[in-house]
Assembly symmetry: C2
Homo-oligomer: 285 residues x 2
Amino acid sequence: MERLEVRELVYFTAVAEELHFGRAAARLGMTQPPLSRAIQQLERRLGVALLERGSRRVALTEAGAVLLRESRAVLDAASAAARRTRRAGRADPRLVLVIKPGGDGGLLPAILDAYQAEPGALPVELVCSFGEREILLREGRADAALLHRPRHDLTGLDTQDLMTETQLLVMPSSHRLAGRTRVCLDDLAGEPLPRWPGASEGGSHGPEVHDLGQLLHLIALGRMVAVLPSSIRDQLRADLVAVPVDDAEPTTLVLAWPEHATSPALAAFVRAAAAVAGKATGHGG
Amino acid sequence: MERLEVRELVYFTAVAEELHFGRAAARLGMTQPPLSRAIQQLERRLGVALLERGSRRVALTEAGAVLLRESRAVLDAASAAARRTRRAGRADPRLVLVIKPGGDGGLLPAILDAYQAEPGALPVELVCSFGEREILLREGRADAALLHRPRHDLTGLDTQDLMTETQLLVMPSSHRLAGRTRVCLDDLAGEPLPRWPGASEGGSHGPEVHDLGQLLHLIALGRMVAVLPSSIRDQLRADLVAVPVDDAEPTTLVLAWPEHATSPALAAFVRAAAAVAGKATGHGG
DNA sequence: GCCTTTCCATACCCGCACGGTATCGTCGCG
DNA sequence: CGCGACGATACCGTGCGGGTATGGAAAGGC
């Protein structure tokens, strides 16, 4: 069984994405002929046609589509491997935790305290980031992240549930729904909801939002409303109102980390977080 | 950022596993000097020490241990990519489903029928295999598998629950517990339980077992007992008895497939299986 | 219908890096 | 102190990855 090389996968990915040998070669910083040969050789070694070459157009075969997807997985794994190794070799070991400002459900201080009490705890570096936080984990840029299920895609990650919250509709006090004690999702038809960077799917049609202060400001200005976990209640400005959304799926705050991670520092952090979460749900409900 | 090549990862994995450059080189079918240089170059490019060389012993550094784990992931992904691509390019497209004989909970015929009724259904190739069935999925040798949660490790796989079953203790009619109407796990202390190939963890201390007929035979001979999902009741020999185990965690039969799979044939199969399972729990409970 | 344009494939050449052989340096042990 | 084991270094050849030049086929314009 012939080996499959990373370089070949990079080449193939470029061609498969461009569907054009010339452009792909330019993107790779090389010329077209060696690229053509590399792809041919790849096809020969796999014994499979990956591309249909019309003289004017290039298209993926079924097998080519499969290899494109698989290649991305391999390349992601490879660059994550490099990054994680480099980070593990750094002289100043740290635990990188990525959070969304305001998205910690108020548990973070207690978790950090509990972690620092663990033996062998490392300094924790907090990275604040909005959209696409799970990507930082998959890329090997961070050790752990606070995410929300089901909002985030958790495939390929291991997780520890921390706390489940109902969701609130946050709006200016002048809003037509501000007097209600509860609303349901149908009431929100036509309301401008925030668009989170990276989540370009349907439904959200308001302006794009990058930070919690900005979001609350825009809500206060009447430009939009938002459905948020109930723990943000503590952080609301005086000019905003929040009422429960009855039929919004509850959101679970989870601690997530890359599958198969073995670092004892991470294990200690997960232990600490689980302990804090257990205590919190223990009293609080 | 320098590229990380598959060849280098193969080399490093060999050295990291052997902890000996000479043996690693032999295993790779090459001589020692180029191997040493390749590892040095890898360390230089990553800017990290991977191995501690004593003159008499080689040991992994912290970063080396990380890279070993990551390398295995990358290499697994790469060979899975090759296999999946080759299979996608085959002239006779088939859907490969791996099952454990007797482990289908009786749902399989209905699922296969429902799938064949789907538009564009492919011929289904059944592969029977005992231990380590999930590995066939991860290696790209199969499209889907019937597995049991929590018995199998499902990380890295997408799943569809099919049916949840309580578990039964299966034993010869002469067994000391054969007269009981129910037992609990503590009653089984000291009983020889089957060892499944690949699951070498504690608790199971009986002979290794590779197939259901063999297992039932050994039980009938009084050599062991087993805790099995209740759907095997239909397949029991007359000389065996089965009673519920009260505190054994219920087992869920799941259909599993590699994450991010996009094949329409697989999607249709999942749909068919979900429909059958929904109907089954609909009447049966 | 022919010429042009636009691609990918082929032919040929070169340099480098990968792998081999020979040897050294170093540590541990008798 | 000398020998053996093992990784590192030195040096060399060759195969392969990449470059330039050119061929060849198909689509489009006049």
